[in-house]
Symmetry: D3
Subunit: 234 residues, 6 copies
């Protein structure tokens, strides 16, 4: 269930017996042949699946992240790092004020990791707040699936090419892996990364994608229990 | 067409012959018996209708706005004023960098008006940029329809109760109009505004809602021409 | 009485029996043929009149506001939106710390409205604080006087041409009304608005100005009672 | 002449032959038995005298400064250091944009010195900008007059007790000098400084005050020439 | 050679033939039985070794980083994420202004990674600037050495226990690995992590530490060539 | 003893019986023929001497300060005023959180004075915190030594030319004193100040330097007692 499918009275009822919420932090940025909102769509799909299974509500997604390196690719909307941290703080602070206590953040974009320090600052200030951060594509369960199939994950390549993501013109075959040694400016990245894909197969069989999705979803359902030490609130 | 239905190559093609974009600024906040994302859903619906008619692309919506006065109502997510202004600046700056030049902002929430000063600051800095700001519920064409039917608009009342908005438990009849004389804190608002509706009929006939929608859409299509003086870029 | 006519011991005495204060938020910006500090002078005059009638003290005026659109007109001093919000917060926070509780803000400039969200954020944090915001030229009592005389208000036109405002070279007659459809940059505004007046008669009879002034003052005296629900502090 | 006594057309005329402006940075804070706006009134008086002698225009004063240590004294309005720096930047940037080039800042309050670093940052960015900063009470010419009469200057004592400053209840005689060794909080200052005067005679003969005033004014008139090396713009 | 061993004339000479500089970003935070400045000392040692081998100058280290999760451990000094990003920007901007062009950042602390987005923002703005970011303990060459010896790296364990780091009371043996599933507050971390070590052997043979050091240094010397594509400046 | 020579357990032991700490705020900026880190090295030497005598611990130095006026001299690293204030706040807040209560700041650079207002803001917020600020070169005890020898202090001249500071090429004799009348931009300063020394003898006898050092150290040892009124915590 999405927060957008509820009015405030329904949210109030929800809070009587539940204090968990799923937060989607995405990005709008180049993803090669895939939709520029790939980093929103994947964690949102996972959030919705997890919500169906558990009844935990999903907040409206944050559609923009920290993507300064892709700004030369049309369709990329990048928030300054400082802006993004403020947004994340404000979302969590608002919901915490109303009684939400367990936040599972489904992050869709690596650049957004910078917000984790700010979240800990917030936890230091607010009482009884528990935040888990899940970046699906780099979690052990997911990379284990990839490894099983002899695959490695790179930006905009097969790992993000889920059937439910808009795409156009995905090439056959593989691309040589890009391994930048420096922090490149947007202009350099555009020249360096060409079509924007960072290497490996452009696409793999739907069955593998299903496994990937299932592995991530299983992690999320586990995390939603907020059970493992030190998960108790103090 | 939504930006999310395109990859960057498609956005690049789009920019060859077009430099307009529709930006939706919403809010996630109490709306009485209506969805907490009402302020996203209405301008997004209008944006999509306008996009269908013109082919102008719609950016992913900004789902959060400035709503500090509703923070005691569960489900309200309010960004600090400073955060919201930064977000709006970053969205516009990113898209302008890639060649977008005509921005029609469909604003769904009165509290977001604070961003207009920042946008002008940005226009002073960037070159050849034209931004129009449309707050559908308070524009002359829309209030004219309301007046024709003897209606006045208030927060979370009939004017926002479109059939396509999630609602539950909308009462029959009307509510006395609330006319606060001060800037109230969230605690005061909760006590003062009760169910969160600011007065007038809770709901009106679908036909009136269609007229309202049509009036707003007509305005938007007109604004999208970016024709009237001083619309030329300098 | 102005705060500047008191030393701290006198302010301390004042606070024993009174916790109200009048705050003037102005602007220094082009006003056509009128003084660039018109937006300070009018609310300050009203504040002084109200102070004479009630003994409520007037804080030193904030002489600068948010006016990015007028920066191409010499004599305009515009604070960034973020700066202005910080100033308003700091003024209120300082006075609240010392025991002031009822703040009537007499705002002289439309662009300053952006501060209202910040004020609510502050009310959410501080205890027992009541802030009313009064923008004299757009309040119902004042527009009723205008309507009675068949007049509409526009920037720098008759509505601000009080006899006590410095002016030079006010033309006879009327100007066509300006109705910008977009948020214009300072450069565009300068080209578009010419002498800086937004239309209607440049000046009207002193008697009408007296009526306008009296209507606003009456409102202010009423607001200073901080009586109407939900004016009680919680 | 004050900027407030001009409309924008007059400012435009002024800029044809002149690019100097006097900026008053004050404070609203306890001054013992003297007005809480003493730090505005003195530099503003000097600015007006200098303006009369030279025709250089005076900007509307900034009435608030950085005074966190006096916040326990009623009537003190302190801006955060960050806020004040932003204000000073915005004032200078606005006026520089319109063609002002030589800025003489008459500062009335020691705490405001923190803005000087920001001003240099601004000079590094903007072209052809010359800013002089004058804190009248600590300049050599003024302390020489004090020394001649065997006097030392302290906050809120004789040096600020000009006849044109509102005062009430100034005691006879002298107060022991306060010499705090630490940065005290507002609570400590209130306990430590009692009536808020930092020591020395509460008041001296008007003749001495005239000498002080004349010495400061002479400095200001000299500085307004912006002549001494390295005053040339590059 | 350290910048601190040069005066500005020597830096000027240096810049005639060289535009590289080594920047050390550290942290002051709990490291179990090791010095609280371990995250400064290790990258600084590497920087000095690299400087000896190449003559590239080393800037004074930034001794504080982003460590909110360790604030309950005495001796931890944590900068807010926003502060740290500003510091990194200002250091790079200053040096770039004077002609430095190739920056090799030796980062000693994982929490500091948040600055990378800001650096790319800066690269987008400034011209001809190349920044490489090296976090020694997680680079492939270093983890390969660890793997060779059957070791895994964790905070404050063997991987940081270089002989040149101050330590007291390092226990014998190993600690169970900590694998937190959430972003913990400082209070939770203190309870959870006990002595502050995150698991594995507390210490290993000096020979292994030499191999680790050598592997990192070799990487650094390679990176200092700024040779690999896309290392050319555009 | 330096904080860097302790692990957190040792800091914890220290806090059982002691709550004082020495904080060094320096700068990296041109100092004529002296090291660019002169403003770090001098207060750090004094801090270490005071630590030896008293056992009070020394925090890792903050190596960068506010030096925008020297940015045209290679080797100058200047933090924006806003950045520096944030850093000082974060350092103090972190240490206060862990139980440090008496902070003696040894400041090495005049431009850093801007942080004092921010520190008072912090004292107003935090409980039981005492901060003393010592700028060695301008304190009465030190200027008395200078006067005794007929000397006046200027930037980068004899007063900073301690034998333990790196220098190269210090000229014989004296330089005419620079007395800038305005706030100069970095470009102007470079042209105006030439070698960067602000006048007087480039160097004096070691014996005088020893006296200077001893006078400052004596002050510091006295301040470390935190004895004089109003030093008691409230």
């Amino acid at each position: 269930m999405n927060l957008g499918d509820m009015n405030w009275l329904e949210v109030q009822e929800y809070l009587v017996k539940e204090d968990r919420i799923l937060i989607v932090l995405g990005a709008t940025e180049q993803h090669g042949y895939l939709s520029v909102t790939t980093d929103v769509s994947i964690p949102l799909a996972l959030a919705n699946s997890a919500s169906e299974a558990t009844g935990v509500v999903v907040a409206p997604p944050m559609n923009f992240g920290i993507s300064p390196y892709f700004l030369e690719y049309p369709g990329t909307i990048s928030l300054r790092a400082s802006t993004f941290l403020d947004v994340v703080e404000d979302i969590l602070r608002s919901l915490h004020h109303q009684g939400f206590r367990h936040f599972l953040i489904l992050n869709g974009h690596g650049g957004n990791d910078a917000a984790r320090g700010r979240i800990v600052e917030l936890e230091n200030e607010l009482k009884r707040m528990k935040v888990a951060w899940y970046s699906w594509w780099m979690e052990p369960s997911v990379t284990a699936v990839a490894e099983k199939h002899g695959l490695v994950s790179h930006h905009a390549a097969w790992i993000e090419a889920f059937p439910f993501i808009h795409s156009r013109g995905i090439p056959e075959g593989s691309k040589d892996t890009l391994t930048p040694k420096t922090l490149m400016s947007a202009k350099e990245v555009r020249e360096y990364a060409g079509d924007g894909v960072y290497g490996g197969p452009y696409k793999v069989a739907d069955g593998i994608m299903d496994e990937i999705y299932a592995a991530a979803l299983k992690d999320i359902l586990e995390l939603l229990k907020f059970e493992n030490p030190p998960m108790h609130l103090i």
